[in-house]
């Protein structure tokens, strides 16, 4: 819990600052409008699923750079097959869930059996999946047009609460994913194995943990969640361009995980922290669009600076704690 206090405070500050800047001076509920809060929650849900996935891999001391391209592969592939090629939707959906599992299994096997570095394996994945997607679609946008309204409810639907505000359905999906992963990580022996092997793979192996199997599981879950997010993204936006759909999403996901307390050295990380990290990035983007639209082209710079500030503050806080402990 202690690990996520910093990020939670930062999130709260940015959230309140955005609220004040956007609403107080305009005298209207802009940021705090039901419409905007719903948009915000939906974006957090979509990006959060990616963040949770990659955090599992980061906990093992690995990395997954292929997320964005898996988002692209599934996000473009589903409408392309269902609308463009006329495949039945259940078959397409099954494929959309199974293919990422296979991709994750491939990554895991290459990392554990061939001892390839995760960075390289998933970097190649990044290139391959996007290239393949651009190839089979001939770079054409794929979309649902007016169809599949019921299915699209999964991404753009809501459970109405009160006038003008409802819980976006993807948030419920995120809730289920987050709960399952949190239970897996903290309440099952396998989650403990995962954290242990992230801390020291050798020690974990010597204490009898089947480390390879656990690493593979992490990659499989990660790719699966990327595929799920890709599906939800395209259901939300209704179209996907092979060339830029999901571009850079792996970095947003990794940034959210690191902000949320995952160490790239492995061994630490919490689901709540990752969610807070994701929320921070999305609130920042929302703030720039609502309050400083004229500086929208500096969005990446702002996000970069805030992430850097968060990580630096975290590091300084850790050192202060260590000094205190040493002193006492």
């Amino acid at each position: 819990m202690k690990r996520i206090i910093g990020i939670a405070v930062l999130l709260l500050v940015v959230y309140l600052a955005t609220w004040i800047m956007a609403d107080a001076f305009s005298g209207r509920a802009v940021f705090m409008s039901g419409y905007n809060q719903e948009n915000l929650l939906r974006r957090i849900a979509l990006y959060g699923i990616l963040g949770i996935g990659v955090s599992l891999v980061i906990i093992t001391g690995g990395i997954d750079l292929s997320l964005g391209s898996v988002v692209c592969l599934v996000g473009v592939g589903v409408p392309w097959l269902a609308v463009g090629q006329g495949w039945p939707m259940p078959v397409v959906l099954l494929l959309a869930l199974v293919l990422p599992l296979a991709i994750g299994l491939g990554h895991g096997l290459l990392v554990t059996r061939l001892r390839l570095q995760p960075f390289i394996v998933t970097l190649c994945g990044l290139l391959i999946y996007r290239g393949v997607t651009r190839g089979f679609t001939q770079d054409q946008t794929a979309g649902f047009g007016n169809g599949f309204k019921a299915l699209r409810w999964l991404a753009n639907g809501e459970i109405p609460l009160f006038s003008g505000f409802g819980i976006p359905v993807p948030l419920l999906i995120l809730g289920v994913v987050a709960a399952l992963v949190a239970v897996f990580l903290n309440r099952t022996i396998y989650g403990r194995y995962l954290l242990a092997l992230g801390n020291s793979e050798e020690a974990a192996r010597f204490s009898g943990i089947q480390t390879d199997r656990m690493v593979i599981v992490a990659y499989v879950i990660c790719s699966f969640l990327a595929g799920l997010a890709g599906l939800l993204f395209v259901l939300d936006v209704n179209l996907a361009q092979p060339v830029d759909f999901g571009n850079f999403y792996e970095l947003f996901a990794i940034a959210a995980a690191v902000l949320g307390g995952c160490s790239l050295r492995g061994g630490t990380g919490t689901v709540l922290g990752v969610l807070a990290g994701t929320a921070l990035i999305q609130v920042l983007r929302n703030m720039i669009n609502l309050v400083f639209p004229a500086y929208q082209n500096m969005e990446y710079a702002v996000i970069g600076l805030v992430i850097l500030a968060g990580v630096v503050a975290d590091e300084l806080a850790k050192r202060a704690v260590a000094r205190q402990k040493a002193g006492s």
């Binding site: 001076f25 209704n238 669009n289």
Partner: protein, 337 residues
């Protein structure tokens, strides 16, 4: 600890920044109606449109934000949502993919005045489209190719992407003109294969998705694969400069003909130097200017600005060596250079 000094330094930086933030907030929070002009990407072409939009906004005393999504359709969507959140009264947008954005555009149209510019979304509830007839403009570019290669020859087409209505029509116009086909904007030759006509062969269409480095690489690869290509056609603003760059490095400048679209400086210089046959220019400045004017009229309840066919044509023009200087001078004055 150095914290007091650190705090002093931090305060010196933070206070003015905060004050600037606050004053920015107060300004934007004024009672005046807000309008927005949203592009489909980031490009000097859109800088011209921005100038037009701002000039009109200044003249009409309007608050107009110009937004350029760098992250494709996902970012354009969240940008439009956030504009609605801010209570923007009217939005002019160039949709990235009209067919699949109908739902989003209709959502915008429900809560604000919506018009399209540059690329249309005829199936949506947009009130009017301001732009060029891209098919006709493409045919004008085809005429430039014919002038450059009167005996016929092999032609390669370079373009940013083909998903957009405007780029598809523009490319089709070039092809139909070169093949002397009838006027039919609904025709579509899939990219990839070679298209052979009586005098002209279209070798293919290469896309680069706004990646300038890739745009140049596409030209280089074409030069290696088709050494006897006769004319290179660049259909997005940055394509002709990429073509000229690659030709220069290959020592083929002036030998391979170039037909251009839009008004990048390098393109205009190329026309002046005789390296480019000519260019077809849209009028992005007027896209911005007219969009803002029309938004203002619609916000005031004046619907007389909407023609019966819901299309405000900002016609394209051909610029050749004899007209390039005059055009360029006018362009510079619009950009305040």
């Amino acid at each position: 600890m150095t914290s007091p000094r650190f705090l002093a330094v931090a305060a010196r930086f933070l206070v003015p920044v905060c004050l600037a933030f606050l004053s920015a907030c107060q300004k934007s929070g004024g009672g005046a109606q807000q309008f927005a002009f949203v592009t489909n990407g980031v490009d000097p072409f859109w800088t011209l449109a921005e100038q037009g939009a701002k000039a009109a906004a200044a003249r009409e005393g309007m608050d107009v934000k110009v937004l350029m999504p760098a992250g494709g359709a996902v970012e354009q969507k969240s940008m439009l949502e956030d504009l609605l959140t801010r209570g923007t009264a009217g939005i002019a947008v160039s949709p990235i993919d009209a067919a699949n954005q109908v739902g989003l555009l209709n959502e915008v149209a429900e809560r604000a005045i919506l018009i399209t510019h540059d690329s249309d979304a005829p199936a949506s509830n947009r009130q009017v489209f301001i732009g060029v007839n891209n098919y006709d403009a493409g045919r004008m570019c085809g005429q430039l190719v014919k002038e450059a290669l009167p005996q016929g020859g092999a032609v390669m087409i370079f373009i940013g992407r083909l998903e957009q209505d405007n780029s598809r029509l523009r490319r089709q116009g070039v092809i139909d003109e070169l093949l002397d086909r009838s006027h039919d904007p609904s025709r579509f030759d899939p990219p990839g294969g070679e298209i052979k006509g009586d005098r002209y062969t279209i070798l293919g269409t290469l896309t680069d998705n706004f990646d300038r480095a890739l745009a140049k690489a596409n030209v280089e690869d074409t030069l290696s694969r088709f050494p006897d290509v006769g004319c290179l056609v660049g259909l997005f603003a940055y394509n002709p400069p990429a073509i000229l760059e690659a030709l220069e490095q290959a020592g083929k400048i002036g030998k391979v003909k170039v037909a251009a679209f839009d008004e990048a400086e390098r393109t205009l210089q190329g026309i002046r130097d005789g390296q480019v046959q000519g260019t077809v220019v849209q009028n992005p400045y007027m896209y911005g200017f007219r969009s803002v004017e029309v938004l203002k009229a619609l916000a005031a309840g004046d619907r007389s600005v909407i023609p019966a066919d819901k299309f405000i044509n900002v016609p394209a023009r051909q610029i050749r060596k004899d007209t390039v200087d005059e055009f360029w001078k006018d362009l510079k004055s619009k950009l305040g250079k």
